[in-house]
Symmetry: C2
Subunit: 651 residues, 2 copies
Amino acid sequence: MNPTTFMKSLQLKKLHIRDSFWSSYIRLVRDVVVPYQWEALNDRIEGAEPSYAIRNMKIAAGLEQGSFQGMVFQDSDIAKWLEAVSYLLESESDPELERVTDDLIDIVAKAQQKDGYLNTYFTIKEPNERWSNLAECHELYCAGHMIEAGVAYYQATGKRKLLDVCCRLADCIDSVFGPEPGQIQGYDGHQEVELALVKLYKATGNEKYLQLSKFFLDERGQEPSFYEKELKQRKGKVHFPFLDIASDRSYSQAHLPVRLQTTAEGHAVRAVYMCTGMADVAAETGDEQLLEACRRLWSNIVEKRMYITGAIGSMAHGESFSLDYDLPNDTAYAETCASIGLILFAQRMLLIEPRSEYADVLEKALYNTVISGMSRDGKRFFYVNPLEVWPDACGKNHTFSHVKPQRQEWFGCACCPPNIARLLASLNRYIVSVKDRTIYTHLYIGGELECELDGQAIHFTQQSNFPWEGDVRFEFGGEQEANFTMALRIPDWCPGAKIRINGNFVSFEQTVVDGYAHFTRTWRPGDIIELSLPMPVKRMKSHPLVRETAGKTALQRGPIVYCVEEADNGPNLHHIALDEASEFIVAYEPELLGGLQTITAKGVKRLSDEWGNQLYKADERVQNVPIAVKFIPYFAWANRGRGEMAVWVRE
Amino acid sequence: MNPTTFMKSLQLKKLHIRDSFWSSYIRLVRDVVVPYQWEALNDRIEGAEPSYAIRNMKIAAGLEQGSFQGMVFQDSDIAKWLEAVSYLLESESDPELERVTDDLIDIVAKAQQKDGYLNTYFTIKEPNERWSNLAECHELYCAGHMIEAGVAYYQATGKRKLLDVCCRLADCIDSVFGPEPGQIQGYDGHQEVELALVKLYKATGNEKYLQLSKFFLDERGQEPSFYEKELKQRKGKVHFPFLDIASDRSYSQAHLPVRLQTTAEGHAVRAVYMCTGMADVAAETGDEQLLEACRRLWSNIVEKRMYITGAIGSMAHGESFSLDYDLPNDTAYAETCASIGLILFAQRMLLIEPRSEYADVLEKALYNTVISGMSRDGKRFFYVNPLEVWPDACGKNHTFSHVKPQRQEWFGCACCPPNIARLLASLNRYIVSVKDRTIYTHLYIGGELECELDGQAIHFTQQSNFPWEGDVRFEFGGEQEANFTMALRIPDWCPGAKIRINGNFVSFEQTVVDGYAHFTRTWRPGDIIELSLPMPVKRMKSHPLVRETAGKTALQRGPIVYCVEEADNGPNLHHIALDEASEFIVAYEPELLGGLQTITAKGVKRLSDEWGNQLYKADERVQNVPIAVKFIPYFAWANRGRGEMAVWVRE
């Protein structure tokens, strides 16, 4: 493993997205989501729960009077917004947005205490209780998000003010936590600071941040339990009395030292944020044991605990993983933030060892669960992304009390919307990576790339009509030729890829390593690679040990997982069964929700007439009528009013 | 409607059960359950949570020192035990048991306060808070169970001591509650006193108890909310802070006046206890409006909210009904007590209007859910009777945290075990009823009946090998002939009943009214009726609007619903599908759990080999192998170790 891997990838930051599918999402983030969230952070959205986040920051800064309100981790919403804004400013200047952001950063800087401490909850409400409840109170989590923002804003604008705030904050944390007597040997209940400290290390070169990250990772799960110790020290005081965070150790992955963990347990977001930090530290330190733990946890997630949509978290209790192959469709938690965390983890693994399985999952989570999390107008959001919904039962059967059949406005605990914003605003960072004179293409998203590789200036454009069509075109530009390897991902969903270079089909099967077709040559301006990735409709089946999908099929085409909705197929979706031999009609419908490719298949629907009042009947022949079953992309569900939805259909 | 209906049926109390199936259960109640529960009430079961019930009673009686422990409704366990014992003593004398019981009654009498009040929680712990929290604290519920016990013990033994205690208690309640100024216009959070007061009225002839029952029923659900009023009066103090009983009005059916309710809502046990009380009052007063409400609620339950096993309560939250056709198999609450309550409701409706649909449901709940609630050795019990269990997920996925894959010992909140005991001990009261010179046979349980009808002494025996075989034989005994009608229930599961009288087939189809075949004649000693009820195996289907069973079949034979278990069919029951055209082999296996009739069918099982590590695969042909699928009666599940179980199987 090469410790400079990630540094090299940073040279790729001149990647501008110009994509028929994603540019409009990024535009939505810029024009709608970020402005809307700014209003939300300032408590100016009528009808939505106030955020109080900026008000808390102003109170802590001494600019306003009042008491802290909102969740204990409310500061993180400001940080995520700052981070999203940074990425937007990086790709396109916006002086007004930058001015507003600088003003906010001034407030944040004023809210920082003299010793570097920064957290409005404890500063305002419990100034003497700092660092007394790591298990529940998210101090390091909030710090981590602010550090991510500080690094991103510095990289985007060159302005150091927020970065300096973050360095002082990290220095404060470094003085409080560590192996020395008088320091706390502990770790946060919600992982985040680990990955953030690695970013700060890479932005500043200050190795102590990397060491601190490693310290937090290695403390987690040690005996005796840190949570129990601090619980005793604060005499049993708890912040969330209905939860049991301090004693339910697997909830925050503190049940075992991280290097010994083999299954993804507990709160799904925490688990994948932790894995991301582990991969970051492994990449920078060459720690093979840590990397091996990452690989094990990755395999457990994607081979046994992930929905076909790239969603994770099988139960509402603890927003958590449950057990291998337990993937209920209707009671799923499947949090948007958890899939974003899975994408972060996948990205880090790609930087360490480019294997297409990481990119396959990254793509799956991105094109399905992440954008399911946001309405097509950018104003409403899902926390929970179930794979089957019966709206009548939501609110009536409390098993589904976490499931909303419609996207909601800004939430009281608003982790998902700003997380979507920062991911989409930084999407250019997930498309390609560089390792050892090789440029790996992970996502087929159109855009323009400029980078340096061993002193050679490289420039190329990528064009595609993904996710609807599988033809991808790379054209090399610039002024001079360059010798390097292009490694093109062959997606797992693609049965018969073809590649042409400068118009000539090339045989590439023998060049495929870890899912990437490799072409090493001297590339000249004007060279063209055409990648043709057929996208037949695929009948997907689950592993035999998944109970909830026994006898059921899901449709996938390219990276897109499909679903049936009541809006197209009427109520009682459970009456539908797909013909085993059905052909599929794929059609692009430009008028449908901004343009979607739909699939129509042959199936049958049960006739429910004339059954009568009896709840159970003997030897009843089920009467079916042939119908055309219409599927739309899963991510576009719940944009046409309240109705049933299902990804898995009986066959 | 005839107000004396029920009084007449009481003349049937000389019905002794001698039945190949039920006698052993009743013997189990006598020899194991009641003695075990006596030990439990006295906190002498090693490894089980203590009950504290008798200790509380002794403290309230001034016989011991200490503080109240256990649930606020702990007294009711004593009452249910006393009631069960009464029924046992009624059918078979047991001087030692009667002596122990008399001693306990002495303690209960001493625990009663001078004004008739009887409740150990408030007497010991909050003497100044009597009647201040009806919504949560079960004072009237406990009183109701003690009244049922007092009536039963008096009927069994002729001893009035406990009955007198109960009359004083009821008089105390009658003085506190009522429409007059200074009285409380309220009702209990958990219905029970309503049906108990009608029993007390019928045992004593004192009509004020009937009026008080009607008062409680009619207060429920009136505006403004009584719960909110008393909550305000006690300044917001709540007993169960995690629940929301006072404001979740439908939880205790207080969302509407009972006469206006059309759907079964909230806590399932409370709902059916309420319906039982409503039917009782309707029967005694001729209140047609109340009876009509009973009919509506009955229809809603059995046509839209009942499992095929006669279980009710679709969700753990509030142990409640949810919505029409919402009948999830794995997350069901399906409490044993709720099915017992449904049996009480059915029995009361049968007394008012003998319609076989009431008996069909009574039989279904009895032969399936109620005896599923108890292990075959009488020592372990289910609260929750799911229709599908994956034991690995219990304890890991909290959606199933209420589901136990194995029966448990006595519970801290021990409503179900004593409720099973009192039902089985009084099973003779559910077999036949009398109305207008007609004897209705509801359950085909063997035994001997003596009664008087219009001055005629009637005696007959019933013999059957139910539930395994459908041949039933009635033989008239006694000394003299008698003229009356025999009305024999033709069960809904029976496709081709045949009847012979004294050896000759009789055509009865034209005599069937409301599901009973009627024979009016002068019956002579030695007359024999032979009822032949074929029991073919039936493939049951659910109403099309039930989602969870779409594409699935359950097997039923006679009243018995079957299930597949891992013990017979290996793990991964979701891999099994039944052949649509399979024949069934029915076999009695005398060695299996005390003797069970099993069904073997043709089916297929998915091969799970060679799938590999991928969680999802495209266009995978599912490989099936033919297998013999073995079904056992649902009630006998979970008696052979921990394993999967399912009632509904794919077809």
